[in-house]
């Protein structure tokens, strides 16, 4: 506890500093590598679509005393030879049977036979038939949502930060998160259901949320970058990342805790369902989102900013001063201590003494 607090102090003062922005090329290359890998996996392996995307028939028998998947297989083999059912036990006492697309009459007949075979009431057998066209609709809506959201976000962030580069960097980080998450889905082979799509779309909001908090600090640290010649833009941005590191970690932990709770309850108590699918996507996406706000968004933003003539000129001036030895931030070993500009900083009128007895 004291360790984290102390670590936070050192990060804040710049005593301890991780050269994340300085090594931006390395981090960006790693991220590009991950994204390319994700896309390759996606192209060659592909995600495994859930039944809602494949289309088909699903039965769920709840409250089965003896959850044996063989019974269902036998019933299906007897009634619909040629069909290959996927039978799984969910949550201990439920059996889920997934089949291809069936005729209406077969759906009803199989529901009855399954109920008889497992000795449950027919009302405990929920059946659902999902047509193959549904997925198209969901996918097109998800893509439409993505595009609308990105346009909106670019506008809002450009206006708020008054810097389109930040909006671009945030968006790239966002796409990185999506690609990465979907890549992990493809790699592990998790099924993509409508609930996972909810999860993916929520990642959009979360990823940006996280990035915005870091960028806000970057903006604060660098708002007067040209008014001083101690530090370069990149150094101040790096300071911001380091200063928000504790927050980023705390935030991720706090956000992931409830999600893990759902994931746990979802997988061990309920069996696969809406809750589990959403939380799985969120779990992966939030972890990736935290990573990207630190290692992708800010380095990328600095990279974009560094091409700006004003910043190039400023950086050159800072370096010149350091070489001349007229800068007081270079340590004995030649490294630079980037920290909050403590001395002489105006603390605001609120810090001034007040006269008493006056309103």
């Amino acid at each position: 506890m004291a360790g984290i607090s102390d670590w936070g102090n050192r990060l804040h003062s710049g005593e301890t500093s991780y050269p994340i922005v300085q090594r931006r090329k390395r981090w960006l290359l790693i991220s590009v590598g991950f994204v390319v890998l994700s896309i390759l996996i996606l192209l060659f392996k592909g995600v495994s679509p859930g039944i809602d995307f494949r289309g088909g028939t699903e039965y769920t028998l709840s409250g089965v005393g003896h959850a044996d998947t063989e019974i269902a297989r036998e019933v299906v083999a007897e009634q619909l030879p040629g069909e290959e059912p996927r039978v799984v036990v969910v949550g201990g006492d439920s059996v889920r049977v997934q089949l291809g697309q069936l005729e209406q009459s077969d759906i009803i007949a199989l529901r009855e036979s399954l109920a008889t075979a497992y000795n449950v009431d027919i009302s405990d057998v929920s059946s659902s038939f999902i047509g193959p066209t549904w997925s198209k609709d969901v996918s097109s809506k998800a893509v439409k949502g993505l595009v609308v959201f990105m346009i909106l976000v670019t506008l809002v962030l450009t206006v708020y930060f008054r810097a389109w580069r930040m909006a671009v960097a945030a968006l790239v980080a966002l796409l990185h998160d999506l690609a990465f998450t979907v890549g992990i889905y493809a790699l592990v082979g998790f099924e993509v259901t409508p609930a996972s799509v909810i999860g993916f779309l929520t990642i959009l909001g979360y990823s940006l949320y996280d990035t915005v908090v870091v960028f806000d600090k970057v903006k604060e640290n660098t708002h007067d970058v040209e008014g001083q010649h101690r530090y370069t833009y990149a150094e101040l941005a790096n300071l911001a990342v380091n200063q928000t590191l504790v927050r980023s970690i705390n935030t991720s932990v706090v956000a992931l805790l409830p999600v893990s709770a759902i994931l746990f309850i979802g997988s061990f108590v309920l069996g696969a369902g809406t809750l589990e699918d959403i939380s799985l996507a969120l779990f992966v996406g939030m972890a990736v989102g935290t990573y990207s706000s630190i290692f992708v968004a800010t380095p990328l933003e600095v990279m974009l900013r560094d091409r700006e003539p004003r910043i190039v000129k400023h950086t050159a001036e800072v370096m010149q001063r350091r070489e001349k030895g007229s800068s007081d931030v270079v340590r004995d070993d030649g490294t630079v201590r980037v920290g909050a500009l403590r001395p002489g900083h105006h603390q605001g009128t609120g810090a001034q003494p007040r006269r008493k007895g006056r309103k």
């Binding site: 709840s62 959201f149 409508p194 806000d216 706090v254 709770a261 603390q347 605001g348």
Partner: protein, 600 residues
């Protein structure tokens, strides 16, 4: 008391008022039995019946999305009119309609869902005032009918043959009829004493009768209300149906000679080939009741009118002056553009060339839903507990503020959802519960952003009250912009999404707003007040805001006093516990005593 603390107290009092009002509203709703203490649950949690209908065109062509939407509208209207609350009717994909009915709906409600729209053309036999006690046609002057209805203009070359055609489609006689049925659909013999009694009993001033009437049998006369509730009618057997109508459009009425717009609007009916033929025969017969000498006056025989019924309610009953061949007819009258458009739409509703097949008919067991809800709530409780433990571990006593704020956010979200469930019919689904659980993390993050900022300000050497004020002014912006982004994501999700996604987006968006409210109205004022307590203000080591743990070796206590100790140890500056004035006085005293000593 400083103005900041006063403001904080006022804000907290304001929040208390908001809470009192919200819960008072809910309490009022519960006390008057209008709502319950818990929010309504969606189908997947409460259990119920879900029917997926697949639309099919009669001729096998592709489905027009507009037609599908209209079909949804019709089903919604019918279900709403049947008194079944909380039905959820949506399209899924490009040909499915999903109808969710909570609980155990009865078969008659399900029938309303399954059947296609019923558009009927029936000859008008009698028109009366809408009240329930209006006597039947026996011995009553038909001219008592209210305002004349719009007339259908006929093409000029209409033949005026007096021959009365057979009723089309040919009525198949019902097996159990005691009296032989008249062959002429316009015959007054259709008005049996039974129909007359029904007519007297029908109350068209009751709005309930205006949305979903009895469609009756196609081969019998029926009584029906006019959609505006200003008249009730007796109509003969069905002669045409929605299938005979191709489409209906609205447009400005053009002068027959000059082609110039007359300023009023009309509805144009476009009938199918066979429908046009039937219509010609019907209008030929109806035109025989038309007396050109009387014109559009009230004394004109109502039997020259044909009624168009949508789901058993008369949407229009225009007068026919001439037989109308060719399958095209206009309904003219004193329509505004809006009225004409509405009528055309209603006619189109009935003419939607879609047949709805039941694709699935799911029973969602209520016990399964209850299990899932319980598990969701357990997951939420565990998640909340973990967040509480973590924040107490990280922020010590400040963690209590997090917990309080989270509880406050939970309380506000709960009452809002319950009220929305009451007022807007919002239903909490499993995805919605997931949204609530996920929002715990995002809400808690606002506090983390805030506390970390305050800590940063403390590290910069501010006193706690100043750090709280300054940290807040910075954190506020971050919290607002990040919540705006989060809310935008939820809003986009909501507008573009289908089914369960919406439930999730809704709770996520709602809790984002609640989060913003709670952090401004609760967390910040609480912290302002706590900063003034000894425990927090003096930086107790369990307060989570101990400057010594934040790297400030010494803490300026005001008036020249500095507290030292803690992690860094050692004293900085003067730390004799004296104020500036005391020191000055001591120096003066020392100086005075030394001078006196010299004198001596």
């Amino acid at each position: 008391m400083s103005s900041a603390a006063k403001g904080a107290r006022r804000t907290l009092a304001g929040l208390l008022w908001i809470l009192v009002i919200l819960y008072g509203l809910l309490g009022f709703g519960v006390a008057t039995d209008k709502t319950t203490v818990t929010p309504g649950l969606a189908l997947d949690l409460a259990g119920g019946r879900q029917i997926i209908l697949q639309a099919r065109t009669i001729d096998g062509s592709s489905i027009d999305p507009g037609d599908l939407k209209q079909a949804v509208e019709i089903i919604r209207k019918r279900v709403d009119a049947s008194g079944t609350a909380e039905a959820e009717i949506t399209t899924q994909g490009d040909r499915n309609i999903v109808v969710g009915l909570p609980g155990e709906p009865d078969e008659s409600t399900l029938d309303l869902v399954r059947k296609s729209a019923q558009l009927q053309f029936r000859p008008v036999l009698f028109v009366g005032a809408p009240g329930p006690s209006t006597p039947g046609p026996e011995g009553v002057d038909p001219s008592a009918s209210p305002e004349p209805t719009p007339g259908a203009t006929a093409s000029p070359e209409a033949s005026q043959e007096p021959e009365r055609p057979d009723a089309t489609p040919a009525p198949t006689p019902a097996p159990a009829v005691d009296t032989p049925k008249p062959t002429d659909p316009s015959s007054m013999d259709w008005i049996t004493p039974e129909i007359d009694a029904k007519f007297s009993a029908l109350d068209c001033t009751d709005p309930e009768n205006l949305t979903n009437g009895d469609v009756g049998r196609p081969d019998e006369a029926i009584v029906a209300c006019r959609a505006d509730g200003l008249a009730k009618l007796i109509l003969g057997p069905q002669e045409l149906t929605g299938e005979d109508l191709q489409t209906a459009t609205a447009g400005p009425t053009l002068n027959a000679q000059t082609g110039a717009a007359t300023g009023s609007f009309e509805v144009r009916l476009d009938l199918t080939k066979s429908g046009g033929e039937k219509f010609r025969k019907v209008t030929e017969r109806l035109a025989t009741y038309y007396n050109p000498a009387l014109g559009d006056t009230v004394s004109q025989d109502v039997r020259a009118q044909f009624g168009v019924l949508l789901d058993g309610v008369v949407i229009t009953h225009p007068q026919v002056s001439k037989a109308i061949p060719g399958g095209k007819a206009q309904i003219t009258g004193d329509f505004t553009m809006k009225e004409a458009q509405q009528l055309a739409n209603q006619l189109k509703f009935g003419a939607i060339p879609l047949t709805l097949d039941v694709l699935t008919d799911d029973h969602i067991s209520a016990t399964k839903g209850a299990d899932e809800l319980r598990s969701g709530l357990i997951a939420g409780a565990i998640g909340l507990l973990l967040v509480v433990i973590y924040s107490v571990f990280q922020y010590r006593a400040l963690g209590a503020v997090t917990v309080g704020s989270l509880l406050m956010a939970g309380g506000v979200s709960y009452v809002l959802i319950t009220l929305l469930s009451w007022g807007l019919g919002y239903r909490l689904s499993l995805a919605g519960v997931a949204g609530l659980i996920v929002s715990i993390g995002i809400t808690a993050d606002s506090f983390i952003v805030y506390f970390e900022r305050v800590k940063d300000e403390l590290r910069e050497g501010r006193s706690l009250p100043a750090a709280v004020e300054h940290g807040w002014s910075r954190a506020k912006r971050t919290i607002i912009i990040s919540d705006v982004v989060s809310f935008m994501a939820a809003a986009v999700l909501y507008w573009l999404a289908v089914g369960s996604v919406r439930g999730f987006a809704f709770t996520l968006g709602l809790t984002t707003l609640v989060d913003l409210g709670v952090v401004i109205l609760f967390t910040h004022p609480t912290l302002v007040l706590l900063a003034r307590t000894r425990f927090f203000g003096d930086g107790h080591k369990w307060s989570g805001l101990d400057p010594r743990q934040l790297g400030q070796e010494a803490m300026y206590k005001g008036r020249g006093r500095v507290a030292t100790g803690g992690v860094g140890g050692g004293s900085v500056g003067v730390s004799d516990g004296l104020t500036l004035a005391e020191r000055k006085a001591a120096r003066a005293k020392a100086a005075a005593s030394s001078t006196t000593a010299e004198k001596e």
